[in-house]
């Protein structure tokens, strides 16, 4: 019961934030609503028993990535976006496409719900903190991808520096 209430609350916050991101005209409002979405998502992760992921979600996404966005918005002093009609395709092809996509996925999920076991708090993870086992996976089974992503990050940093540097 409590679980469902929490889920509904946070889920509604998520969806509301996302919709707000969609309707807001000023990028900084969109950014903040996205931060809200992410925070709510991290709480939903907690419901799913992934507390470490939740924390990292807050720290990395809300705390770093979105700050970066806000930072850039402030830096470029971006104003409210203009309602230019650049692409009719986006509206007349993409719109229906998205609707169909959403409908299909939702239909698929509900249709296959009988195959799934409902989520109950505490059922997973078995041991009190799954951080250890997560670390085990990350540094044993997924060591190579981990290293590769580290290289990826490095390259991304260099790329960002090169791109953003003003030519002189």
């Amino acid at each position: 019961m409590l679980h469902q209430v929490l889920f509904i609350i946070f889920g509604l916050i998520c969806v509301g934030g996302a919709i707000n991101l969609l309707v807001q005209r000023h990028p900084i409002n969109s950014a903040l609503s996205l931060v809200v979405v992410m925070g709510a998502l991290s709480l939903i992760y907690l419901l799913l028993g992934a507390e470490f992921v939740a924390a990292v979600q807050v720290i990395v996404y809300a705390g770093a990535v979105m700050v970066l966005f806000v930072f850039v918005i402030m830096l470029l002093n971006a104003g409210a976006e203009e309602r230019s009609r650049g692409s009719h395709v986006a509206l007349w092809i993409g719109g229906p496409g998205v609707v169909v996509l959403a409908g299909m996925i939702v239909y698929l999920m509900f249709r296959n719900d009988k195959h799934f076991t409902p989520v109950t708090i505490g059922s997973f993870p078995a041991q009190p903190d799954n951080t250890h086992s997560l670390a085990d996976l990350l540094f044993k089974k997924f060591l190579l991808p981990f290293e590769i992503t580290s290289v990826l990050i490095l390259i991304a940093i260099m790329g960002a520096v090169v791109l953003a540097r003003r030519e002189s």
Binding site: I28, V35, E51, V58, G63, V67, F71, M74, P128, D129
Partner: protein
Amino acid sequence: MTAFLIAAVVKILLVVFLLLTGVAYMTWLERKVVGHIQNRWGPTRVGPFGLLQPLADGIKFILKEDMVPDSVHKGLYILAPALALTMSLISIAVIPFGENITIAGTTTPLQITGVTRPGSPITDINIGLLIILGVTSIGVYGVALAGWSSNSKYALLGSLRASAQMISYELALGLSLVGVLILAESFSLRHIVDTQSGTWFGFLPRWYIFPQFIAFFIYLMAAFAETNRIPFDLPEAETELVAGYHTEYSSMKFAMFFMAEYVNMITVGCLATLLFFGGWHGPLFGPPLLQALLPVFWFSVKIFVFMFLYIWIRGTLPRFRYDQLMAFGWKFLLPLAIANILVTGLIVALGA
């Protein structure tokens, strides 16, 4: 259940009250100490030794006219200080001050988010440290939005600096803690503190400051930067941009930023104490009640030392230049922290 709720509420109110009072007298202390460092008296008028000065300040803040400049981004302008203060207050919730305490038959841990069941060890939230980090990182928004929403060059520059600085030093801060985490093998603050009980060689307390002094040094620097304190207080460098991100703020909103800053200082101090100075551990003696309260005392003493260090440094050091700040953070602290992690991990791995 009711007892549990009551205990929780009581704890929350108590902690918040103590915290805010602490903040208030922190300001007094700062003015006094800096005053003496600069051969002044500091506040003396209000009350003995100006002890009532914080109260007077508080009243002044509340009674002042709360003016909102035109052409500010209204919503965010109001949201920003609230956000800053809230985030700084939230993080206190996961900080443990001591072991159980039993009052009127109810046993409760000295920690807001801690839970205890009879006959079982205290279980507190197992990612406390991460929560603190996350919350502090959210706190950046307060500063950034404040600067941006108040639609003023000084404020904008200040908040740009602030956010850049905070993002940069968060890295060093987080990485400096990893060393301790490797040793303690847990994110739970309480567990970390427990691992620091006892002594090495009978006399040296088992604090992580000793094996992790490099980490502590890094943490100290990063903490100063995170809290925008001298020598890293560029976001509010009076001589350059009037007051940085809260230039346009007045009265209670300004007070919120003010309090947020000091609460952050205290939080950081608590964290340092918990991670490096063995939390509430200290010599215990006397009657049971004293036995129960001594840990809290030791804890506050350690925090006090830390706060004094803050003030002392403020009275002593000049301010960095901005490029120096960034260079220091990225080119010195970050590599050092990584090296520290590597060495610690290596030693632990070899030891295991």
